[in-house]
Symmetry: C2
Amino acid sequence: MQYFEDIVVGTKSSFGNHPVTHDEVVAFATKFDPQPFHLSDDAAAQTHFGRLSASGWHTCAMTMAMVVENMKAHEQAGLGSPGIDELRWLTPVYPGDTLRCETEVLDKRPSSSRPEMGSYRSSMTVFNQHDVAVLKFVSIGLIRTRSGGKASE
Amino acid sequence: MQYFEDIVVGTKSSFGNHPVTHDEVVAFATKFDPQPFHLSDDAAAQTHFGRLSASGWHTCAMTMAMVVENMKAHEQAGLGSPGIDELRWLTPVYPGDTLRCETEVLDKRPSSSRPEMGSYRSSMTVFNQHDVAVLKFVSIGLIRTRSGGKASE
């Protein structure tokens, strides 16, 4: 189990191998982002996208699926995420693509008010099968301290 | 149809009335964010969340659903979004909640290289039925100019 004290700034990780399927692209968009370029090839052909592409939020959700899968092998005393900075959709994601993640720990700091926890920031870049970056963001993570704030431990 | 020239900085909008359902919270999390506090009340009770809450990315997706629904009544010559800044999940979102959006146009600028388009930034705040803010972010939108870059029009 990884705690705040175990986080090493500069650590890089690569993980994920997530197929983007036509049916899931259409199902996600139908429910959450029903714009023509996310619903069908024919409708997308009439737009600046030219062909069916995944909702940007679907790409974020697929990224989360890879993150959670990766956490199974690398358990953390995590306390969730307060947010994301500098999210950029760089290239359209298409059915048939396969996505993977590269992360790097940017910085960490103990909580000033709650000694039982700290936070750290990581960069996330998602690539497709052509090694083209499709999404990047900086995530903030909260994580327990091993000591739980008890200085004597 | 609204073009870049029609965007007025400071314009505020309120829209959306989106129910958060137990089944959709579990379905989204099962596919994209299968952490215990997003999968069942029993599993969530063992965690710092205490009860079942929606994946933060699900809240983003529900927000997009409200945005797209609102666009039906307020058509834009939109060209998609390059990204999001300062995204913060402020309060857990629970099954049974109802979400709504408040937006404000923060600034706009013509493209320096492509006179046929411009960009603008908007703040988004999502509230639950108790008027508690659950999510906020700043979105960047791309939009065509009415002139299409032809100065003589």
